[in-house]
């Protein structure tokens, strides 16, 4: 029997193994996204945008049209593509540093304008690509390269609650959820609903995905799961924050 890897059809098999580190959650989120693209049969219509940060390692990940832009700018670039080609299904894929700090204005404005795009934002609590510095999502007490004694809120403030913020500033047709790589099926469901919401042109669609970064967390497999499943979900509750009311008929 000739057994083949069970990669999503939308993945570009020729670029695998992908460029993410061992145990990196980006791989799991993009696996969930790939499976959803396959199940919805939309591969030929998807435009994928990745950001600066480790998300850019996905520039050759899928067999779909792909663009790579700068910190958080992936959002307005995808908005532009959507406006020019409303028949496309656009996905802005970015990190927490790019989406919530360096390019946060773009997220805020696209959400406020109710742009009909899907944003998937990867929360790994650090600026991973540059070596694990504190990000807006670094949790109180969490040690990073730039908070060696742990993030002190008196000095460094509180973490960003992204989906909560997006839910507060969007219109009724928006879809907002927070999933986790530790709840793979749920994460898939949220991503699917976020893409369906764009397809129905109901409103802005946003999924934050809690992810792993064993390289910068300096965690083994056991501690990696523990960090994302316990510590992160205590700070960042999982679930849907906003689901559009679908009118009958």
């Amino acid at each position: 029997m000739d057994i083949q890897p069970k990669m999503p059809k939308s993945w570009n098999a020729a670029t695998k193994p992908h460029k993410f580190c061992p145990g990196c959650g980006h791989g799991l989120i993009l696996k969930a996204l790939g499976q959803v693209i396959d199940e919805m049969g939309i591969q030929d219509r998807v435009v994928f945008g990745c950001d600066i940060g480790c998300s850019l390692l996905a520039w050759d990940f899928f067999n779909v049209d792909t663009v790579q832009t700068h910190h958080g700018r992936t959002t307005p670039v995808m908005v532009g593509i959507k406006k020019a080609r409303p028949d496309r299904i656009v996905i802005a894929y970015m990190g927490d540093g790019g989406g919530y700090a360096i390019g946060s204005q773009h997220l805020v404005n696209a959400a406020t304008r109710d742009d009909k795009i899907t944003v998937i934002l990867v929360n790994n609590t650090v600026y991973a690509m540059t070596g694990g510095q504190m990000a807006p999502t670094t949790m109180p007490g969490q040690k990073t390269e730039t908070t060696p004694y742990g993030r002190e809120v008196e000095q460094a403030g509180y973490p960003m609650m992204g989906p909560e913020m997006v839910a507060a500033i969007t219109q009724e047709g928006a879809y907002v959820a927070r999933g986790s790589v530790a709840r793979f099926r749920k994460l898939k469901q949220y991503i699917r609903k976020a893409l369906e919401n764009q397809l129905a042109m109901r409103g802005f669609s946003f999924v934050e995905a809690l992810s792993t970064c064993p390289t910068n967390w300096r965690t083994n497999a056991e501690k990696t799961w523990e960090f994302v499943e316990k510590k992160m979900t205590e700070q960042y509750p999982l679930g849907e924050l906003k689901v559009p009311v679908v009118k009958e008929g």
């Binding site: 029997m1 890897p5 695998k16 193994p17 061992p22």
Partner: protein
Amino acid sequence: MEKAATKKAISIDVHKGKAVFSIFPGLCKGCGLCREKCPEEALSWSEELGVYGTPTVVPDPEKCKACRICEQVCPDCAIAIVRKTGGDKD
């Protein structure tokens, strides 16, 4: 450009011969996420090295129930479980 190495599987019968467990050393990065999630504690480190020269994983055929959790949590799609009776859908 297809990388031939990623395609070569090491396969073993598990779950009383009702399923085949395959590991693709060309894809496995030895992260260990799968081992931690296996409810049967069926996975150990293998002599076979993966793409980064780190150990891949091998199941104990007696313990493995072909539940496919390891397949699901692998960020690199390095594990494929095929049930001989079908039913590979998620």
